[in-house]
């Protein structure tokens, strides 16, 4: 059986696999423009507006690091850190810095590192914005060489600058995690030795040193072993460390014991806990669940479970919701072929050709399950002539 899973999983950025991501039909200009309107669009976008974030996405697509540096401010980052600490009831202790170091510098550097782009093809797609407690949360689907990372870029409403990055699949934002670690390490809830083991466990995770991790981890009290901070770090390191078989085994064990959460999504899939994987996707914000990336994840799970009606519903919905992304059509084609929906397959092939300039030859199509049957139909004749 040909599996759809390896092809589609990329969309949540959890395993590596190549597709062309956020390719869109770029030639069409759709505005109800008039001269005055054009002039308005030439003016700098107002902070917080849709145009502002769309333009930020375009800049970040060019260079996320530059986009960050043009829009970041160390003082605002420090202020945000104090906001987080205050929310946790930890403000007084937090003023001593992160383990004694200056928050302003650490905070800025951590974010700068996270926003630094490698040489991969990246495209930032703006999705949604929300305002909470004086901060603006802008959500993006970042298409990175076929992955999709869902990011929340947090802005200070006062300074109109970036103060945080949060990968939405995980529980903690980058600085939120730092503040929480600092709070835990200064907490008297745990003994000095327990806190020390926790610190070394986290360091081992960050260094991808599984042997050291194992030694420290087993000494931790039970509640620290399953502390959300530690798990958040573990799943992130396992996602990026391709040699992380051992990490993955450990996380799979942890995932069995915990309520479904998007941070475990990949591990549910690997351990064939499909229901939990679907439930994990349910924990994402609603506007992300509607994004084609998540819908085709669901389609992929149903495809592999041979639940083709549900796979069709999800693939269709992905096209309805995001008709200018190529991946939903690719998945739709695969689902249609496997379901013997020859008309659907033909119509999808025609859109791929006309909108995305992707043409299949017979040999290429035969790689897909169900294509043999399609090729014997009159619909295939219409396509191939």
């Amino acid at each position: 059986m040909k599996h759809l899973l390896p092809l589609v999983l990329v969309c949540l950025g959890l395993v590596g696999c190549a597709t062309n991501g956020n390719q869109s039909a770029g030639s069409q200009t759709i505005t109800n423009d008039v001269t005055a309107h054009r002039a308005e669009l030439m003016a700098p976008a107002k902070f917080g507006s849709t145009r502002f974030f769309r333009e930020f996405g375009e800049k970040a697509t060019q260079s996320s690091q530059e986009a960050f540096e043009q829009n970041a401010n160390a003082e605002a980052i420090e202020e945000y850190i104090y906001f987080l600490a205050g929310r946790n009831g930890f403000l007084d202790q937090a003023r001593n810095g992160f383990l004694g170091s200056d928050w302003k510098t650490i905070g800025y550097n951590v974010l700068q590192d996270r926003y630094s782009s490698d040489k991969q093809q990246i495209e930032w797609e703006f999705l949604h914005v929300e305002r909470r407690d004086g901060y603006v949360h802008s959500y993006f689907a970042v298409h990175i060489s076929g992955h999709i990372n869902y990011l929340n870029v947090v802005w200070s409403e006062n300074s109109e600058t970036i103060v945080e990055m949060h990968k939405v699949l995980y529980k903690y934002g980058e600085l939120e995690a730092l503040v929480s670690i600092d709070q835990l390490l200064e907490s008297e809830q745990y003994s000095q030795i327990e806190r020390s083991y926790f610190r070394h466990t986290m360091q081992a995770i960050n260094r991808s040193d599984f042997q050291q991790f194992k030694i420290r981890f087993k000494e931790l009290p039970d509640d620290l072993k399953s502390h959300p901070l530690l798990i958040d770090n573990l799943v992130q390191i396992a996602a990026t460390d391709t040699s992380g078989i051992l990490w993955n085994q450990l996380i799979r064990e942890l995932a069995r014991e915990h309520e479904p959460h998007s941070q475990y999504y990949k591990h549910y899939l690997i351990s064939e806990q499909d229901e939990k994987a679907l439930e994990a996707l349910d924990t994402l914000p609603e506007f992300i669940q509607r994004h084609a990336g998540v819908l085709i994840e669901r389609a992929a799970i149903y495809y592999d479970l041979d639940q083709m009606d549900k796979a069709t519903l999800m693939a269709n919905q992905a096209i309805i919701n995001d008709p200018y992304l190529v991946m939903p059509y690719v998945v739709k084609l695969m689902v249609a072929l496997k379901s013997d929906d020859s008309e659907g397959a033909l119509l999808t092939l025609q859109v791929l050709k006309l909108r995305f300039e992707i043409e299949y030859d017979k040999a290429g199509l035969q790689e897909l399950e169900g294509a043999d049957r399609f090729l014997k139909t009159s619909f295939a004749e219409q396509y191939f002539g």
């Binding site: 519903l313 309805i320 909108r355």
Partner: protein, 673 residues
């Protein structure tokens, strides 16, 4: 219980003839001359006919309270001017309570060309049952005497008089009258006379009138009288609040204070309480096993949902409640029956509870009248729990099921039937935030030519949730789906339903959500010449709250439905982000009575148009009505919105995408089912 004070005195009553039976003169009525104490009043027959179908020449009401039984004498005289007048005014109808009243017919004549034609013939009299509120399951036991006049022609004057002798003992000899001093048409002469005992004088108050009330002492009697000539027609403008009295009245009563009215009602409910039955005691014992709050909520639910509404208001039960034991056993009762049952249960649970008299008509203006039982037409219950007073209408159903969530109606000034109470209590008023309808309509477009999926989610809270819950129960989900589809089909050509409506009902928080989904094949209107695709929003929900009243030039109050907050949000979900020329605009149309907000915004790939209507007052006074009408006209300008997306045909894949989307929509519909 219903408004007795209007029933016997108003012209043009609409009557329900349940059965016809031959007249039995010796039981319900007789023919006799007018009493000696009646002072004859005659009509002026010389006035020229008007252009109306009927000219009322004279109405005369005379009441004698000094006799063994009270007697109400009535005399009417009117001229019929045309065939319509003949059609509608040739039958004499007199309503009476056969348990306590006798009708004495004095005369019935046709005056034609200076001659008197006697039409009071025993053979022409019929007694019929009269149950005008049978459709509301209220039975009063009233009857009606009908005298069908023979040979009536245009130009005739009808002249008749009668007396009603006796009264319902439930009033314990108290007097309470509202005499009409004006009508919907002009009246040549209006005369009122009341004879009372000097030992028991009456209080009186004029409403919408400054006529002089004459008081004459004659021996042991006081005679009150009013005489008006050529009264003008009072015209209802429509859309008035219930409490606004536009006709002139003379109110008369022997009650001196609200305490006296309370004393009368306390005695009445005490008499009605009777002995509690074993079954009821057993039920109360079950309630006592629950936590107190839960027991209260269950008792309220029982009185509302387990006892059906049926008003057997015959004889003294017009005002005297049936015993809780009887109501519990029968599982039916009217407002006072249900209220007394609930109060009995709450009392037994150790909750400070009492029945309450209210007026659904006079509401907050009850205190503007003289104290009397005659103002009230409804009974509810009230209790105090954890230092907070609650008001429960046991005749309501489909309410929220917790003390925090159920709708407590605001009937204005209420009389707590509680020993020692000497005043009216204002029921708490509501805010517009408590009663909301919020509709979000999402139009999901995957291109600019294909059918659009239309998802509607309507959320109802507070009173609006209860109204919707009742409507659902009454109509049924399937029929409601059909009704909705039919309604939307009038606005959207070719609309298709994508499934039955879905309901999420949470009675704990008193919120109900209704979800619908349709396909709109003609949402986009492609203009081939310009390559533009046009679309249109219409805020039909808020439209219904912005209707102009029947009469815009007003001298009377205008009632506003509410308090309520109505929100209608239309979201166009686009396949790509589109920069519209105008996509960030807010307009507020506001006065002291309503606030109407129109908010156009855009989000990523969405154009959002929100309309919100919020009431700030319950009524608009006549002095502000012109300004308010102008506000409504201004707000109505924003009900419709049109825009377009340009250059949509430049996409080379347009037709291919349209074909695929058509296929997909069919699949989605089939698979969703």
């Amino acid at each position: 219980m219903y408004l007795k004070w209007m029933a016997g005195l108003a012209l043009g009553q609409l009557l329900l003839l349940v059965s016809l039976q031959p007249a039995l003169a010796d039981t319900h009525w007789r023919i006799d001359k007018a009493p000696d104490w009646v002072e004859p009043v005659s009509a002026d027959l010389t006035s020229a006919p008007s252009t109306e179908a009927v000219d009322y020449l004279m109405t005369d009401s005379q009441v004698n309270l000094t006799l063994k039984e009270p007697v109400e004498y009535r005399h009417f005289s009117y001229r019929i001017n045309d065939s319509l007048g003949v059609e509608e005014n040739s039958d004499i109808e007199i309503a009476f309570n056969p348990d306590f009243e006798t009708v004495v017919l004095h005369h019935a004549r046709i005056l034609r060309d200076g001659k008197e034609i006697d039409r009071l013939s025993t053979d022409d009299i019929r007694v019929t049952d009269l149950e005008p509120e049978a459709a509301n399951r209220i039975y009063s036991g009233y009857k009606q005497i009908g005298l069908w006049l023979k040979g009536v022609s245009a130009g005739d004057v009808i002249d008749y008089s009668y007396s009603l002798v006796g009264e319902n003992p439930v009033f314990d000899g108290h007097a309470s009258y509202f005499f009409d001093l004006g009508w919907g048409i002009e009246v040549g002469k209006v005369s009122v006379k009341v004879i009372a005992s000097k030992q028991r004088p009456l209080n009186y108050r004029l409403i919408n009138s400054d006529v002089k009330v004459s008081e004459q002492v004659q021996g042991s009697k006081i005679i009150y009288s009013v005489m008006l000539r050529n009264t003008t027609a009072v015209l209802e403008e429509g859309d008035n609040p219930n409490w606004e009295i536009i006709y002139p009245y003379l109110q008369m009563t022997d009650f001196n204070s609200w305490k006296e009215v309370t004393d009368w009602s306390v005695a009445l409910f005490k008499r009605g309480k009777g002995k509690v039955s074993g079954e009821l005691v057993e039920y109360i014992e079950q309630l006592k096993k629950l936590p107190k709050k839960q027991a209260i909520e269950k008792a309220i639910g029982f009185s509302q949902e387990k006892v059906r509404y049926l008003g057997i208001e015959i004889a003294e039960n017009s005002h005297l409640p049936h015993s809780p034991a009887e109501v519990f056993e029968n599982r039916y009762g009217d407002c006072k029956d249900k209220s007394l049952l609930l109060v009995t249960m709450l009392d037994a649970l150790g909750v400070d509870a009492s029945p309450v008299l209210v007026s659904t008509h006079q509401t907050k203006t009850v205190g503007d009248y003289l104290p009397t039982y005659g103002l009230f037409n409804h009974a509810i219950a009230s209790f105090v729990y954890q230092d907070k007073r609650y008001w429960v209408d046991p005749t309501l159903t489909h309410q929220g099921t917790t003390l925090e969530s159920f709708y407590q109606p605001d009937y204005g000034a209420a009389l707590l039937v509680k020993k020692g109470n000497d005043q009216l209590t204002m029921m708490p008023s509501h805010s517009a935030e408590q009663h909301t309808v919020s509709v979000i309509q999402q139009y999901h477009a995957s291109d600019y030519i294909s059918p659009v999926r239309w998802q509607i989610q309507a959320e109802y809270t507070g009173r609006e949730a209860e109204r919707m819950r009742y409507r659902l129960a009454k109509t049924g989900q399937k029929r409601l789906s059909q009704e909705y589809l039919n309604y939307y089909a009038q606005l959207n050509e070719g609309i298709e339903s994508l499934g039955a409506i879905e309901i999420e009902d949470d009675r704990l928080i008193n919120k109900i959500v209704v979800k619908e989904e349709y396909l709109l094949p003609k949402f986009w209107k492609l203009d081939q010449s310009s390559s533009n695709s046009n679309f249109h929003f219409y805020s039909d929900l808020t439209d219904s709250y912005l209707k102009l009243p029947q009469q815009v030039n007003r001298s009377q109050h205008l009632n506003l439905y509410g308090p309520v907050t109505i929100t209608q949000r239309s979201e166009l979900w686009l396949p790509k982000h589109v920069y519209f020329i105008t996509e960030d605009e807010q307009e507020v149309v506001e006065n002291d009575y309503i606030r109407y907000t129109i908010d156009l915004t855009s989000e990523n790939r969405k154009l959002i148009l929100s309309h919100q209507y919020v009431t700030k007052q319950e009524t608009v006074p006549p002095s502000a009505s012109a300004e308010h009408i102008a506000i409504l006209r201004e707000a109505r300008k924003y009900l419709e919105y049109s825009s377009s997306v340009n250059n949509v045909t430049s996409d080379p894949s347009m037709d291919a995408v349209k074909a695929l989307l058509g296929h997909i929509h069919q699949q989605q519909t089939r698979l969703a089912k």
